[in-house]
Subunit: 347 residues, 2 copies
């Protein structure tokens, strides 16, 4: 076991502060990583605050991890010392169930191990995330990061990136499709970049006209202000796919109206009750409302490779580790464009 | 123009009674039909009561029409005098838009013509449905009815049949799939028959244990009582597809929980607001909530042929035309197994 510096919280109402944690000794299929950057995901805040009722303390958040390989177990062949690598939301799964075999480890029937706040099957207690100097992760859950990208801006791809890339691919977004991105935050700004890179006519749908300019800079062809009923009506029944990144419960009916027959709106943010959905909005024109969460490891690697090829990264604001509590507050205030990334050298 | 006896209502609060209506003279691509049976759909009641706010009076309901061809226009080649035929929910569409070209006439971009209560583009006013002795319908919207089936029990296939057959086919239900049918009424009882005939492990999901025996008679392999939380929990994440026929707004969350990852629940009844859907029930395991309404003409013919092959009809109670107002009340009281059919000889 090795003692490693980290930032964690002792309780839901305690601030994050420096603590020492332990990382396991390297197993034969383990990779040891010196963390250089870690993104700040809204989930980190929900988890720390115990919003989902399952928090284990001390909690060390962080599942958008970038670093360098410093050591590998003897069975590791896909990564070598010095490689630039990433770790996302998962660090283990059974590898044997139908979900794992279909590269959908996040739905592992025996339960995947989250990067933090999951049972740690090696050293007991619970897993501790990327707000730390080092991490040891099973080979299969370590991703290769393209070296042509700005490293710090890659970190959010490990969660915000795959969360938006996966549904766009699953619902087969292709060149010329009219794709709506609802909500412009950490997820939405990645959704715009990916949909545009896939060749879609990418339409930002937002409540705020102030976001229009930025949406276009990120790649949106067009911006619809969702509060403008006439403007929304013009686009009814015209969208091939809508990616809805709003992180809270809301009225999805006006967005469902925008879909073409047989098309889908996928939720990736709202893990909350939605306001009353009118059955007619699904029954008329056979529309679909779906959801999606992150993506499997194989697809995460595909997403990183796609980013390397298309020169896609997240728009980030780099912070010192010591500023994390302020950053949490600013995420809650929706005051970030579009993702905080911690420079782990400051820890 | 020809004067024909029918049953219609002069206002939403007036009873249905005998009236005379006019049918157009035969056009070159028209088929004239002597109606022998007409099913009573819950929509007939909603329409008559103006529940959807678009009723035109006098209203003559009826879109589950069975009859014999008595005359054909000179361009009609697919039907001949004496044929046993059916007419469903539509009697015309543009035949030129993308929806029509993809055999989805119900979503005709120029507006399909409903069998009743739509604008009548031939003789003005609005279309009048199957609660009448005769009807004249455009060739393409007349279906051939298999002659090996009990004719009166075929009528409900034209709406209840296609409404349940279409989503089972669209979501590719196949042999061995575990398929849930929620709600046992006019739609649900057809859903069970079709899913069973497609080789699915067909599970009736109902609030009422009293319906279990009948569900099994209709073809269900198993019955789950939805009020029994433990029983529901046992089946969580196990269904390949769920057809939800509940005709009113309700809490869909417990049913979404039953779906396997990447699976769909399709609504065919609830054209009403649904209670708060929790986003997590879609986001976790990438589940889908969809809707579907009737089906195209090509698929309706396919459904009728499937019924001929598998000897499937609706369970009906035949009534005299004069008993229609009582029948409407009994449908509203959910007191019918499972569909009323009017014997048009009694008019």
């Amino acid at each position: 076991m090795k003692e490693v510096k980290a930032y964690g919280a002792a309780a839901n109402d305690a601030p994050l502060k420096e603590i020492n944690i332990e990382r396991r000794d390297l197993l034969d299929n383990d990779v040891s990583i010196d963390i250089t950057y870690c993104g700040v995901c809204h989930s980190d805040i929900h988890a720390k605050l115990n919003d989902w009722g399952n928090a284990k303390y001390p909690i060390v958040p962080g599942h958008e991890i970038i670093g360098k390989v410093t050591a590998i177990g003897k069975d590791v062949t896909s990564h070598k010392i010095g490689d630039l690598v990433g770790v996302g939301c998962m660090v283990d799964s059974c590898q044997e169930c139908s979900a794992c075999k279909e590269d959908q480890e996040m739905w592992c029937e025996n339960g995947s191990t989250s990067t933090y706040n999951s049972k740690d099957k090696h050293i007991g207690g619970h897993t501790l995330g990327g707000y730390s100097k080092e991490i040891v992760v099973r080979d299969e859950f370590v991703l290769q990061v393209p070296t042509n990208l700005d490293t710090k801006s890659v970190a959010p791809l490990l969660c915000a990136g795959i969360t938006t890339y996966s549904p766009l691919k699953h619902w087969k977004v292709k060149k010329g499709d009219k794709v709506g991105i609802v909500g412009l935050g950490g997820l939405g700004h990645m959704g715009i970049k990916f949909a545009a890179a896939m060749g879609a006519i990418t339409v930002m749908i937002t409540t705020s006209s102030k976001k229009a300019k930025d949406a276009k800079r990120l790649g949106a062809t067009q911006v619809i202000i969702s509060k403008d009923k006439d403007q929304m009506k013009e686009h009814n029944n015209t969208f091939d796919f809508i990616l809805n990144t709003i992180p809270v419960g809301h009225d999805v009916n006006p967005y469902l109206a925008l879909l073409k027959r047989d098309s889908t709106m996928c939720l990736v943010g709202a893990i909350e009750p939605l306001e009353n959905i009118h059955g007619a909005n699904l029954i008329l024109r056979r529309k679909n409302l779906a959801g999606s969460l992150i993506g499997g490891i194989k697809e995460t690697q595909e997403m990183l490779d796609f980013c390397g090829e298309h020169n896609i990264t997240s728009d980030v604001e780099v912070i010192d580790m010591q500023d994390i509590n302020t950053a949490f507050q600013r995420v809650q205030d929706n005051d970030v464009k579009y993702r905080f990334v911690i420079d782990m050298a400051t820890l």
